[in-house]
Amino acid sequence: MNGWMGKILRVDLGSGKISTERLDPQLARDYLGARGLGTKIMWDEVDPNVDPLSPANKLIFAPGPFSGTFAPSSGRYDVVTKGPLTGTIAASNSGGSFGAELKFAGWDVVILEGKAAKPSYLWICDDAVELRDASHLWGKDVPTTTEMLYGETSEDAKVACIGPAGEKLVLFASVMNEMQRAAGRTGVGAVMGSKNLKAIAVRGTQGVDVADKDAFVAACGEASRKIKEHPVGGTGLRLYGTDVLVNILNSVGGLPTNNFQTGHFPTADKVGGESLAAKQLQRPRGCFACIISCGRGTKVTNPKYKGEGEGPEYETAWGFGPDCGIDDLDAVTKANYWCNELGLDTISMGGTVACAVEMFSKGIITLKDTEGLDLSPGNAEAMVEAVRLTGVGEGFGKKLALGSWRLASIYGHPELSMTAKKQEMPAYEPRAVQGIGLNYATNNRGGCHVRGYTISPEVLGVPVKFDKDATEGKPELVALFQNLTAAIDSSGACLFTTFGIGADDYAAMLSALTGVAYSGDDFIKCGERVWNLERLWNNRAGFTAADDALPPRMTEEPMPTGPSKGSVSRVKEMMPKYYAVRGWDDAGRPTEEKLAELELA
């Protein structure tokens, strides 16, 4: 096969059996790889009603056809499973080099089943695969685990691992690779921990075959040129990183502040990308084959929060910053470092702390409940300590580890959890930006911005400007972005390549790479297929139209202050049109006609 390696690795962690299977070329063509292929395998093999933290759940690591090639910024992979935070299908995407190395080792998919009897790690060296004892690694943080594994396997190995958070089954624990890159959302790290799997180390010596080398070189060259010439992809992200978004979201009144109580934070600039570049940035960082380098190598010298690492990204700076009423960039970055070291999703961590802060400010929880942690709004030290406690499973951290919805429910106020399908909404206010609210509500993994990033047209004006306050055209826009993103996630490409190229460009590269003829419409259709399959999974897991919703604060409480004062999310108004655009019935279920069209019937 070209583009794909043609092999699936299956590991039964309970029995220790390791086997190789052939990748069905038709499945590869229809689902591409990564998120798509992983979801298809979950659909075929796992009961959607399984307990996510039980041995019956499966954990899948999968790169895409582009991963490991010189397609620009295309080294990504997905971790696919049933997510413990949401109960939905979960596919968490990450960059770095791990995905490419899996391809170099000869694998399109790694399926992990059951549960190991004791802490273990998987060592993959081309075709040689071993399950090894990880008792000496259990309890270690991500950097220590990674360094130790370099010593035990190969200094050239790439390592994906969990930190203490995943071991302790924090419901939003992440899988970290190359120490600083995260498959962050929905608790995929907790699933790995539930299987007693500490890490996967991989080293490969092979290459990815290309069907038409000349055409692939040409298509990749054209794509790279477009990305570099685009003012956003070519310059802005490298200089300021994603954190540059703080100020524009604040200016339009769409920066969720104090747990989404309002959309404007007066001192937001202190935690924005400009401040980050001036005070903490050491160097930009990029992933495998990346030509954009949005990553931030940073350092904090303030003795109170001293540290070095990568980040924060925009959502992280927002979550530990304005969402908690904090404008101390050093504290924000320290919290980010804790998340990377202990293996926590920064968005859900920030959103959960913000929820706790609001409950504390309203007297719903007290110092006794928080075991002495003063979660007053703006208390940066307490916020950082809350993150650390969550990651190590101590004190009030044990309750924060449940995520905001379960935490708030314990104290009788689930309405104060700013989530969709129990996953914390990221850094864009639905009352200020109508389309992103519709995306949150309909997203197959709940509160997620990246899978339907309509902020790009609605706020940034890329590729064209849509009025953020309008509802007209938003169902179509959201569905298109969701479909395209699903295809890109399944290909191994980075979403930031969309600042430069479109479906036709991905299709040209994919066709030349694989030898399978894809048009731009075919590429998007792959994404639509994946989206609908995720929807079917969630329907079988018990999700209904009632779950396509936002917290009542978003739909019933007008924005109290700022440039978007007076607005509410009109997601309920847009939902019927969204279902119609999707080809679903009034209850939000894919129709037989739609399933037949997508070859899912």
Binding site: Y240, S251, I455, G461, V462
Partner: protein, 90 residues
Amino acid sequence: MKVRYFALLRDATGKREEVWTRPAPDVRTLMHDLVARYDEPFAKWVMVGDALAPFVAVLLDGKDVRDRGGLDCSLDGVAEVDIFPPLAGG
């Protein structure tokens, strides 16, 4: 009226913000005056001839001019003008 600059435009102007006292009836006048003051390092990001450059955001008290008249938007009564070069994130 306060004019605020972000990202690359802070380097281009050497400022985060300034109080603008010159007459500026509309966004077009203001932008041309800013280009005249800050020249090429500023102009290359924000204007292409007499038009706003692609992906540039000009907000008048938080409202994007691209949604309501573009460069012809009046500045009458506007307290804050925020100017952003092309940005991305996610």
